[in-house]
């Protein structure tokens, strides 16, 4: 009889508040998608909320005659390679730190923990110089190589691995399974949900990444979406920005992530909720 605890008028009020907040939160997304369908005149007149005659041509222009699809493909490619390696190296490292016994395991984890505190920006200048010495500036290799470890992912996996009953590990080892086999045949299937959360979060972080990639890549054809989008915006010039087309581009870049977030919200949230060291 929970209903008695929670009166209907109160619930209605709560719902009203939520809807109001929801409208404010959704407004930028809605505005983005709608602006992309408007004519120049309609854009200048706020009273036109919905375009009279949707200008789908703006989307077509971005898809067919702009470099935006190329940028999206770049981001997806770089993110996929990066995340694959991040998961691989992270799994090996965390397996070693959690299950294998060797002398420096505590030290190693402390070092990784320490890196978590270092703001990326503090490493940018020396990393930039390093990449330039290796001749990897302005290349995918440079982008990927400088981003091979996800410290956040290491924390996620550690949390999952520590919850695996040690008996399972012992049993696998008793049966003569090597570490490699134990990791991928025993530990990995048990912790797959966390791997999925890891993949999602790392992929999104990578796809959205802006500052570092924009510092080390110059060639437009190598740009990731964020940098490419900014370029696309600037090219229009501060005046006479063709907002409809810019909004169409933004929508196309954002939409895959929005759809992803609605579909996999729970899994994503599980990964985030498991963030490090929160005890409350």
């Amino acid at each position: 009889m929970r209903r008695n605890l929670y009166s209907r008028p109160l619930f209605a009020l709560k719902l009203a508040v939520l809807v109001a907040i929801g409208i404010v939160m959704a407004f930028p997304f809605v505005w983005m998608a709608l602006s992309a369908l408007k004519t120049k005149q309609e854009l200048l007149d706020f009273s036109v909320f919905f375009p009279k005659d949707a200008q789908w041509g703006n989307y077509a222009e971005v898809l067919l005659r702009s470099p935006i699809p190329r940028y999206i493909a770049n981001s997806v490619f770089v993110a996929a390679v990066t995340v694959a390696y991040q998961m691989f190296s992270g799994a090996l490292l965390v397996y070693a730190v959690v299950f294998m016994e060797f002398r420096f395991r505590r030290v190693i984890f402390a070092v990784v923990l320490g890196c978590y505190m270092v703001p990326g920006a503090a490493t940018y200048i020396p990393s930039y110089i390093l990449l330039s010495k290796m001749g990897l500036l302005d290349s995918y290799t440079g982008l990927i190589v400088s981003n091979l470890v996800s410290i956040f992912g290491v924390f996620l996996l550690r949390q999952a691995f520590m919850q695996v009953p040690p008996e399972l590990y012992d049993a696998a080892r008793m049966d003569g399974a090597g570490h490699w086999k134990t990791l991928w045949r025993v530990i990995f299937p048990l912790t797959r949900p966390m791997f999925i959360s890891f993949a999602l979060i790392a992929f999104i972080t990578c796809y959205n990444n802006y500052m570092w990639p924009s510092l080390i890549t110059n060639s437009p054809e190598l740009s990731l979406v964020s940098q490419g989008l900014r370029h696309f915006f600037i090219e229009g010039g501060a005046y006479g920005t063709n907002w409809a087309v810019v909004m169409a581009a933004s929508t196309l870049v954002t939409a895959p992530l929005l759809i992803m977030s609605l579909l996999i919200q729970k899994r994503f949230i599980a990964g985030i909720g498991a963030d490090t060291g929160v005890k409350g």
């Binding site: 020396p126 959205n208 964020s226 940098q227």
Partner: protein, 297 residues
Amino acid sequence: MCDIYTRRKKLKRAAITLAFVLPALAPLALFWIYPALSAGYISLTDWDYMAPSYNITGMTNYVKLLTSGEFIQALQKTLTFCFFSAGFTVGGGLALASLLRRAFRGSGFFKALFFSPWITPTVAVSLVWVWIFDPQNGAANAILRFFDLPALKWIASSQTAMLSVIIVTVWKSVGYSMIFYINALDKVPKTLYEAASLDNASAWKKFTKITLPCISPTTFFLCVVSVINGVQAYDQIQILTQGGPSGSTRTLLYLYYQLGFERFNMGRASALAIVLLLITVALSIAQNYVSKRFVYY
């Protein structure tokens, strides 16, 4: 007694351990640990990136940096930005979580909606906000005019640019702290509320005497994370204002970018990077310390 057999076994074990550890540690050492140390070294030089040689100048960069008007201004802007963006992100997150803690039909939709700005590319959504904040034709001013309020110049004026950047930042991150709070509110022992109800405690009393203390570790964690994110904010500032007008949204990180990658004053920029590093480390250590000390259950 150290026969060859155990020795070889030991060697083999060491090799396996290395094989597991190195794929992550090698890149970490190359692109995190070495650069962080190297930044410390560069900060003691007058290197300008172009010149092949440089001089060791000791603490000069730090002294010049810390006493420059630019730095003081950027520090103030960073504090303002962090204080308000973290405050509203954390407070707003708690408010949203309180509304959504009890699941009802459709609550999942709201959760996803409030959370979604956080995972969308900052650059893409910041472009929409540039359009919304457009002084002539933007939606923000149209809404203000509708309510008969005076129009603002938003990102075009040094009076309101910071406000605009904070609005975008809070919009983007409030859902993130909401998720943590929903988690935390769920874990507050129900028996505490039942006991309080028996004593006829008001809802407000329950909130301040039970809920707030129980979720305080999350609050502290979120404050620290939001401040760290604030210190490291770049994307939205770069798109919305480029640190302007007249430095009104230039935070320490943005100043770092300008010093290093626009003016190529590598020594000065590295000194600033070390300052940023110290701020972040201090905050993280405080977070760790507090979360270990104040656990209520």
